[in-house]
């Protein structure tokens, strides 16, 4: 119980602090600053890569800055003229994927314009990718840099002409010296030289001269000036045959609290780590993540609100609106059908009345044939009339019928079959259709 509460306190504490991850000498350091550097956890790289146990459980999820050894970052020059960032990024991504065995390399690079092309910085060490797969991919980090870039930024802030011509910077400590070599403001290479106290100066001079030679070979130029910084109060006297300047007056070189093995990184302070001009390699996947993070957060928040509302509604409905149960199937339709049938029969037309009405309407027309069906009435008969009055007489008969039965369609006179039986006597036949 106590360990859990301790862990919780530690976690909540670390959450508020910026955690930095330093990789140095085969170890991964998780550090935070509070009156100097404090160690949160350190893990051996070999353990992180090989171990099966879950190393993540005690680690902070967010890393403010990942600092890798200088030699883990490689650089290549490409003579590409395009200024369009998307084209350049796509080109570098393709180029790096083709040139390196690690497909993840396309997620870890940055470029700067350099002479007639671009200088691409990328993570080149195999250990980084092994560590990335096992450990780093589960953490949230965006900026990756190295001590050389940190020192470059620190020097730029304090020394004006550091970006002009060939310049070197040497940081001296009792056990080692850390040297960076710059050409026109670009980091060319860096070295960390372990020194023995017995022949400190001889060893240092020898190594520096070797490095100066390497610089000359690479740039075809010489170093113009060396900036020196010592962690000791007394400066050792160096004679390298080049203009030197001690910069202790500009830059404080005492680590606020040095954790063993942090190396030159221990001399960095908050200002150095949060400098906006610090050159870093971004974790490109994290860029995509950052771009979508706001959308994801909004989606999650609205989704959770929606889910809560729907769940509440679900239980509210379940509680307050129970199923009405089985609904009785009342067969009113059968009653309706029965009543309809009854009404249909009750309202049926009387054939007897129809017959009487037709005979009454005929007057002096002699009805010989009658066919009465529910939908039609056929009437045939004889009429004594001259041709001129025949039409008038039949029309009169039809009008009387239509008065008795307004829902019948009378035939046109032309449709009536008329035959002459003898002079002055005509036979006729017509049909009345019910509407």
């Amino acid at each position: 119980m106590l360990s859990i509460s301790k862990r919780l306190i530690k976690k909540s504490f670390v959450k508020k602090k910026n955690v930095f991850c330093l990789i140095r000498n085969d170890e991964v350091f998780f550090l935070y600053r509070e009156k100097g550097w404090n160690l949160f956890k350190r893990i051996k790289i070999a353990d992180a890569i090989d171990s099966e146990e879950n190393l993540l459980k005690d680690l902070p999820k967010e890393i403010s800055l990942l600092v890798v050894p200088d030699y883990w970052i490689g650089s290549s020059f490409y003579p590409i003229r395009s200024k369009k960032r998307s084209i350049v990024l796509s080109f570098i991504s393709r180029k790096l994927t083709a040139d390196f065995d690690f497909p993840e390399v396309k997620d870890f690079f940055e470029y700067i314009p350099y002479e007639n092309g671009i200088l691409v910085f990328f993570l080149q060490d195999e250990n980084f990718y092994l560590l990335y797969k096992k450990l780093l991919s589960h953490l949230s980090f965006y900026k990756i840099t190295c001590p050389a870039f940190l020192w470059q930024t620190k020097l730029r802030r304090n020394i004006k002409d550091i970006d002009k011509g060939g310049k070197a910077f040497i940081h001296l400590t009792p056990r080692y010296a850390y040297a960076c070599f710059f050409s026109e403001g670009s980091l060319l290479f860096s070295r960390e030289i372990d020194l023995e106290p017995e022949n400190y100066l001889e060893q240092l001079s020898y190594e520096i001269l070797q490095s100066l030679r390497l610089f000359s070979q690479k740039t075809k130029k010489d170093i113009e000036k060396i900036y020196l910084l010592s962690s000791e109060k007394e400066h050792p006297s160096l004679s390298l045959g080049i203009k030197t300047e001690w910069i202790s007056k500009y830059i404080r070189s005492i680590p606020s609290e040095c954790i063993e093995d942090l190396g030159t990184f221990a001399f960095m302070d908050e200002k150095d780590l949060s400098d906006t001009k610090l050159f870093y390699i971004p974790y490109r996947k994290e860029i995509t993540f950052k771009e979508w993070e706001t959308f994801q957060k909004i989606g999650l928040i609205t989704g959770i609100i929606f889910l809560v509302l729907m769940t509440s509604e679900f239980f509210f409905l379940k509680k307050n609106f129970p199923e009405p149960g089985l609904v009785k199937d009342i067969k009113i339709q059968s009653y309706i059908n029965e009543i309809d049938e009854f009404l249909k029969n009750r309202n049926r037309e009387s054939f007897q009345k129809l017959l009487v009405n037709i005979l009454n309407s005929s007057g002096d027309i002699y009805i010989k044939r009658l066919i009465i069906e529910p939908e039609r009435i056929g009437i045939g008969g004889e009429i004594d009339s001259d041709v001129e009055n025949l039409r008038k007489r039949i029309k009169g008969f039809l009008e009387k019928l239509s008065m008795s039965y307004p829902n019948i369609i009378l035939p046109d006179f032309g449709e009536i079959k008329i035959e002459k039986k003898e002079k002055g006597r005509y036979e006729f036949y017509f049909e009345l259709i019910k509407r």
Partner: protein, 167 residues
């Protein structure tokens, strides 16, 4: 399984998975809620309709029963179909005799729940009118066709249906 685990380990993809799952669950609940409301409204409507129908039947049952009883007159309740046919033929002959109509023949044809009769007869038109009146006064007879030749003594064909129910 391993692909799911690797998916969950990737924070970016995991967030998308969570987001999608939350919205899927939300959508499912939304659908269930809407369906429940719809079903509740539908069942309530049927229930209300039924209540209305029940009230209507309760209030009008007396009239409905009367109609049903009258409606029963539309069918002749017989125990044997042949007996029914004989009964109709005898009845037709009786009213024909009463009205002064001479029946020449009675033919019948069986239909579904009814029998079609065709009477061939002769006589005076005024007697025929009385005969038809008598025939129509019986609810289970329904005249379908009158084919009247009014020349001389008259030749008539009357087609009607006889509706029955076997009991």
């Amino acid at each position: 399984m391993s692909s799911i685990l690797s998916l969950l380990k990737d924070r970016y993809k995991r967030n998308w998975c969570i987001l999608v799952l939350i919205w899927i669950f939300g959508a499912i609940l939304f659908y269930l809620n809407v369906r429940k409301i719809d079903r509740y409204i539908e069942k309530r409507r049927i229930k209300e309709e039924n209540e209305y129908i029940e009230n209507f039947l309760k209030n009008h049952m007396r009239k409905i029963k009367q109609i049903m009883e009258k409606k029963e007159k539309l069918y002749d309740r017989i125990s044997n179909l042949n007996l029914g046919i004989i009964k109709v033929e005898e009845y037709v002959e009786d009213i024909a005799k009463k009205e002064g109509i001479k029946v020449k023949g009675i033919r019948h044809e069986k239909g579904n729940g009814k029998i079609f009769f065709e009477i061939s007869c002769s006589g005076d038109v005024s007697d025929l009118i009385g005969f038809i009146y008598e025939l129509e006064s019986i609810w289970y007879f329904r005249i379908l066709r009158l084919d009247l030749d009014l020349t001389d003594n008259g030749k008539y064909k009357i087609t009607f249906s006889y509706n029955y129910r076997i009991i």
